[in-house]
């Protein structure tokens, strides 16, 4: 079950990020943001390989790492919690135009096979391509597309 799906632009800023539960969005922002280090590393390592033969799927980026860091909680009391309550795995995928997809998957109850993840990314990529084909979409803007939203929602629910 995917708990967070993010689309990141070539310049490494988010084009789209969606997570469940929505309240923890900031947490996922951090999670996805830190994953970029690995994505960058993997992409630069792959740069040497032939472009057309390149595998778009990057595989597992990071296993679990769940930190709850908050300085500005409602009462203004800072708190740091380091805990590993559930198994979150981050998978990455990068298109030829260096747009990155990052998916955070909660695998505490179900173990997903690599192939399933791969097909999810492929679906995401197709949907993203559709968004790009929209003549009214400005590349580099945040994605506000209902079709894309629906697809992401279906992916978040589907596998669980």
């Amino acid at each position: 079950m995917a708990v967070c799906i993010a689309v990141i632009a070539k310049e490494n800023y988010p084009l789209y990020i969606r997570s469940i539960p929505a309240e923890q969005e900031l947490k996922f922002h951090y999670t996805v943001h830190t994953s970029l280090d690995v994505v960058d590393e993997k992409v630069s390592a792959m740069g040497k390989a032939l472009v057309d033969q390149r595998e778009l799927y990057l595989g597992l980026l990071y296993p679990t790492e769940d930190y709850k860091v908050s300085l500005l909680s409602r009462l203004g009391i800072p708190c740091v919690k380091s805990m590993f309550p559930n198994q979150l795995h981050r998978y990455g995928y990068v298109t030829n135009s260096k747009v990155k997809f990052v998916m955070v998957v909660d695998s505490s109850n179900t173990a997903l096979r690599d192939n399933e993840i791969r097909s999810m990314f492929r679906k995401l990529h197709n949907s993203y391509t559709d968004v790009m084909c929209n003549p009214f979409y400005n590349p580099g803007d945040r994605i506000h597309s209902r079709a894309f939203d629906n697809m992401v929602t279906s992916m978040m629910v589907q596998v669980c």
């Binding site: 988010p14 280090d37 590393e41 800072p78 380091s82």
Partner: protein, 1141 residues
């Protein structure tokens, strides 16, 4: 062992650990001065051999870590240096005692120790002792380094002896089992004689010897020992020590492969002394001899190739070692440190992905409950390591976690300062710079959500840290740069907190410097409000300075010798884009218009908004404004007064929003439109204000070319009326008004205007000049409205066409057509061709009165100002001449002008001509008025040659001439109207209605015929008396005023009697007789000459007789107009002589 040393690196395995500690009361400053000097001696070339000894100094080392000294010898404290103050010999024994106590702590492992005593002098100090050194004070201790070197050499001797002792330890003797603290209880009661146990002892000892070799600078030996140890331990499944042996192997290989060190700055090793620079270089080359090993280490050449691990193997072995360590919970610190060491190695190998795996593992190593401080240290080091492998985001993440840890609620005294410092260090990881300039380029491209969070935390931390200036700066930055990403609610919250902060500490434009050297540039609020366009406004037209023509010409010629050149025009266009082609005036309020809008979802209060300028002393007059929520473009005018002259540049504006002062420079604003920012300020000029006696007009005139009217007055006048306009001129400036010129311009109007519309006399006003500031002068202008008094064209035409209109004389048709062209020449305006008979048509007249004035320093520089007064006159029709015709008067020199006068006003009106009595007209009434006029001799008007050239078009010339005639006639007629009820009066002009035909009749014929009866000139009403029976001489005189010869003519005198009942009796042969012929012949008469015909008449009866002098038709030349042959009829009264008697 529970305290991990996160700074550990692989090279530390070859170092000797020396603890330097103060004893007694030693000031921290002094201690660290000495510590620094001591630790500078970190590597020593031992004696003659080329082996190098590395020393690691610690000023604090937990004794429980020391207990792991057997496991890895670099953890063993082998040397102790104590530093102490001792000022009197009395204290000496006590001090020495303390030294011994200190020695006890690490006693089991110490090879040697030293005591440095400062301050003690005297006999005790003079005793030579090896373990104690005396120095008078902290400044005079030159020999410290030397002492340390000696000390280290003594350490080496012990080390070397131990190494040799253990290395030669053969299986003959019983090998003691080395063990780590937590193992001790496990071995109780174990069979010490088993082969397994022996092997274990052997393996552990090999490993220990390997450690010692490494420390003693015998790298190759150590590799051999480690390999052997690995073999031995693997066979007995002694995993902890196997791990240690593998790690030792890795460390030795790393030292071999990476002589530059892996620990970064912290563990950097100095090159091996200046004496061996060549060797240092050689170490990199495979096959070159290592400095560590010649002579003493014979295994160097043989062992290297097979014993030393390849870089890939190092990682594999590290992995293996760590996996063994992880089997033991108590070896967590060892595992953690191994991970850290491996990461450092991988960082050098640039294998970030694998390094991250090691780090990931390190993160999971759960040590016992860590203290808060240790947690901070742990997170910081993780962050540093991630930084090392190029994972900046991850590094920033952990740094932020560390920062949060600093202020965790469990900490009694939260370290906000440390937290803030750590947070600042995370900035690059989140690709955030605190310079707002970096955000000016295009749209913001960053991970806004996390950046915003970080900024919020910075604000919070700086506030708690007690530095409100910093929090204001950060909050301003947040608001300025992240505005697009803030939700409406967030915008509100942020601004509210900003306002509350600034109430204590207003935001400034100063650079904030942090103690650690970071500078926080000021954050101008260029988005609150957003300025879209900046436009420098010209002064209002009435205050606009203008250059005198002559000087302007000079300027132009200085630029280029050409009147026009496309190249220059192009250049000028570029120039214009920067410089503005109008001027401001010193001392006058100047305006700059900004188009702003408020992006906030609430009302934005902008205070103290003013201009930033340079070049000229400028007094800015700040404005405060309040922009409605999410307003559209909103114009704001900023004003100021230049106080000196020169070039002024508008660089930007300043604002105070939410208590933050901002200086926004135009250069740094993205997407701003401007018409240039540099303006010339010219010297001060006076200011003229005019007020008039007439009411101001709401209507503004639409001037043709660029003029702007400052004041408008309006007045309603009847056609023909004259009104006096008093203008008060007041100098409201600060400079004397020295010069004034007045011109007027009548705006193009469809109406034909007669006479001077505006007239004035300037001399009286100029007599009051120069006008000092605050003084007033008056100026009078006469407004005279004299429009066409003819009524609507079509109406007139109707009258014309009815055949009887023009004159009683029979006319041939060609003359009629002469009238037409005037009709056609008038523009046909559809709106004006209203229904015939609509007389109450109000016409408007507009004129501009221009006052050019100058004075003061501006005048010297050749500038003047132009003030325009718009005059708007509504001309209501007063009277109309609906029809005009002439009747010949009794005299041929005169004629009657018949005017049908129509009163179009709603009041009773009287009209009078030159000598006639007044004619009273009721509203809407039309009456005929007859005026007897002398005929005019138009030919006598001078025609200046200038006029001729001016009107080359004959038609124009003709019109001009006709106008002149009209004027002449009008002045003779002098028709006035008067509305008694309104007490208004004026004149009426016939100029416009006189057509060609009427003019013909009013004109004196060029042939002047004079008929003299009895020597007396006979004309219309003159009755010539004569006696019956007496011959009366009749003389007909012709004077030719025309320009050509005329004649010959034949004239016949026909007498008749008028019975006054329409019957003329021509049968008078028996009553009158002619003496001589009754027919006269006149030969051709040349111009200006005259010809006289004489005859005589004899009346036989009394009575009234008339003489009709007729031309013989055949003799009259056809080409001359009929009216030329208009002879007076002669009235003769013949009286009987008896009656007289």
């Amino acid at each position: 062992m529970s305290v991990p040393d996160y700074m550990q690196c692989a090279e530390d395995h070859q170092t000797l650990l020396v603890v330097v500690q103060p004893v007694g009361i030693v000031s921290e400053e002094n201690f660290f001065r000495i510590y620094k000097r001591i630790s500078s001696v970190s590597q020593i070339n031992v004696r003659d051999s080329q082996r190098v000894l590395y020393i690691r100094y610690r000023h604090h080392y937990p004794p429980e870590n020391n207990e792991w000294g057997d496991f890895q010898t670099h953890r063993k404290v082998v040397g102790l240096i104590t530093v102490t103050d001792c000022f009197s010999a009395k204290d000496w024994p006590q001090t020495f005692e303390k030294f011994h106590v200190q020695k006890e702590i690490y006693g089991s492992t110490l090879y040697d120790s030293r005591l440095f005593v400062f301050g003690l002098q005297g006999e005790i100090a003079e005793q030579p002792r090896t373990d104690v050194a005396f120095y008078p004070n902290y400044d005079e201790c030159e020999s410290v380094e030397k002492r340390i070197e000696d000390f280290i050499e003594s350490l080496f001797i012990v080390l070397e002896s131990k190494r040799l002792d253990r290395a030669t330890d053969k299986s003959g003797d019983k090998i003691p089992l080395l063990c780590v603290p937590f193992e001790k209880k496990d071995f109780v009661g174990l069979d010490t004689d088993s082969r397994h146990y022996k092997k274990r002892c052997q393996g552990r000892m090999r490993k220990h010897v390997g450690d010692l070799c490494l420390q003693a600078g015998m790298l190759q030996d150590s590799l051999v020992h480690y390999h052997m140890s690995v073999e031995l331990l693997r066979s007995v499944n002694d995993f902890l020590w196997l791990g240690a042996a593998l790690e030792g192997l890795c460390s030795a290989s790393v030292i071999y492969h990476y002589p530059g060190g892996t620990g970064g700055k912290a563990g950097a090793r100095r090159p091996q002394g200046s004496s061996l620079p060549a060797d240092t270089g050689n170490r990199h080359r495979p096959g070159a001899l290592t400095t560590n090993g010649i002579n003493a280490d014979t295994s160097t050449e043989i062992g290297r190739a097979k014993n030393c691990l390849s870089p890939e193997d190092i990682i594999d072995k590290y992995k293996e070692a760590i996996s063994y360590y992880s089997k033991y919970k108590n070896a967590g610190v060892i595992e953690l440190e191994a991970c850290v060491k491996a990461v450092r190695v991988l960082a050098i190998q640039k294998r970030s992905m694998e390094a991250s795996e090691f780090l990931q593992n390190a993160v999971y190593i759960n040590l016992r409950q860590l203290s808060e401080e240790e947690k901070i240290q742990r997170y910081s080091i993780l962050s540093e390591l991630y930084e090392l492998i190029g994972f900046h985001r991850k590094s920033a993440f952990f740094k932020r976690v560390a920062a949060m840890q600093c202020v965790a609620p469990s900490i009694a005294e939260p370290g906000w300062r440390a937290c803030y410092k750590l947070l600042l260090e995370t900035l690059p990881g989140y690709s955030l710079s605190l310079d707002p300039k970096d955000f000016n380029k295009g749209t913001h491209r960053g991970w806004a959500a996390v950046q915003m969070r970080l900024l919020h935390e910075l604000v919070y931390a700086s506030r708690r840290m007690g530095n409100p200036a910093l929090s204001v700066r950060h909050l301003s930055f947040l608001l300025q740069t992240m505005l697009d990403f803030l939700s409406d609610q967030e915008k509100k919250d942020v601004t509210q907190s900003l306002e509350s902060y600034t109430s204590k500490c207003p935001g400034t434009m100063e650079l904030l410097s942090l103690p650690d050297g970071l500078n926080l540039p000021p954050v101008p609020f260029t988005k609150l409000p957003i300025v879209r366009r900046v436009k420098l406004l010209n002064l209002p037209a009435s205050l606009r300075p203008q250059k005198m023509k002559s000087l302007l010409g000079q300027n132009m010629s200085a630029k280029s010798p050409f009147i026009y050149s496309p190249i220059i025009a192009h250049n000028r266009g570029e120039e214009r884009s920067k410089k503005i082609d109008f001027q401001w005036v010193q001392g006058d309020v100047c305006e700059v218009q900004l188009m702003v809008y408020n992006p906030m979802p609430f009302e934005l209060r902008v205070e103290n908004m003013g201009l930033l300028t340079s070049g000229v002393e400028f007094e800015s007059l700040p404005a405060a404004l309040s922009l409605p929520a999410e307003s559209g473009l909103y114009p704001v005018t900023l004003v100021g007064v230049p106080r000196s002259t020169g070039q002024i540049s508008i660089n930007g504006y300043h604002t105070t929003v939410f208590g933050v002062f901002s200086d926004c420079l135009l250069d740094s604003l993205p997407g701003i439109k401007t018409n240039g920012s540099t303006v010339e300020v010219i010297p001060a000029l006076p200011r003229l204000q005019i007020s008039t006696s007439l009411p101001r007009s709401a209507r503004t005139l639409q001037p043709s070319s660029g003029d702007e009217i400052s004041t408008n007055v309006s007045v309603q006048l009847y056609n023909g009326e004259t009104q006096q306009l008093d203008i008060k001129l007041e100098n409201i400036g600060t400079e004397p008004l020295e010069k004034l010129e007045v011109t007027s311009k009548i705006l193009t109007t469809k109406e034909k205007l007669y006479g001077d519309f505006l007239s004035w006399k300037l001399e009286e006003t100029l007599a009051q000049f120069p006008l000092q500031p605050g003084k007033t002068a008056t100026f009078t202008v006469n407004i005279k409205v004299k429009l066409d008094f003819s009524c609507q064209e079509n109406l007139l035409q109707d009258f014309n066409d009815d055949g009887i209109s023009v004159s009683g004389l029979p006319l041939s048709s060609p003359f009629r057509q002469v009238v037409k062209p005037r009709v056609d020449s008038k523009p046909v305006n559809p709106s004006e061709s209203s229904k015939a008979g609509d007389f109450s048509h109000v016409k408007t007249l507009e004129a501009i009165l221009n006052f050019k004035y100058s004075g003061g320093p501006g005048h010297i520089d050749g500038y003047y100002r132009n003030l325009s007064l718009g005059i708007h006159v509504e001309a209501e029709p007063s009277v109309f001449f609906t029809r005009v015709s002439t009747l010949p008067a009794t005299s041929t020199r005169q004629c009657h002008l018949l005017l049908d006068v129509f009163n179009s006003t709603e009041h009773e009106l009287t009209i009078s001509a030159k000598n006639n009595e007044e004619l009273i007209l009721h509203a809407g009434e039309c009456q005929r008025m007859a005026i007897q006029v002398d005929k005019f001799n138009f030919e006598s008007f001078p025609e200046s040659p200038a006029e001729r050239t001016q009107f080359t078009n004959p038609k124009q010339l003709e019109e001009e001439r006709q106008e002149a005639r009209g004027l002449e006639i009008n002045s003779k007629l002098d028709i006035h109207w008067n509305i008694p009820s309104l007490k208004r009066h004026g004149e009426a002009s016939v100029e416009g209605i006189l057509n060609q035909l009427v003019l013909e009749h009013l004109q004196l014929a060029p042939l002047q015929w004079d008929v003299l009866v009895d020597g007396q000139l006979c004309d219309c009403d003159v009755v010539a008396d004569c006696r019956v029976g007496d011959p009366i001489p009749l003389e007909v005189r012709l004077t030719n005023w025309s320009k050509r010869n005329v004649g010959p003519f034949a004239l016949t005198v026909i007498p008749y009697q008028d019975y006054q009942n329409g019957v003329h009796n021509y049968e008078l042969q028996d009553a009158i007789t002619f003496v001589g012929s009754n027919t006269f012949y006149i030969d051709s008469v040349r111009p200006t000459e005259n010809s006289v015909c004489l005859g005589a008449l004899l009346f036989l009866y009394t009575g009234d007789f008339y003489l009709n002098i007729k031309f013989h038709e055949d003799t009259t030349s056809k080409e001359l107009p009929l009216s030329w042959f208009c002879l007076p009829s002669v009235h003769i009264r013949a009286q009987g002589p008896d009656l007289q008697a």
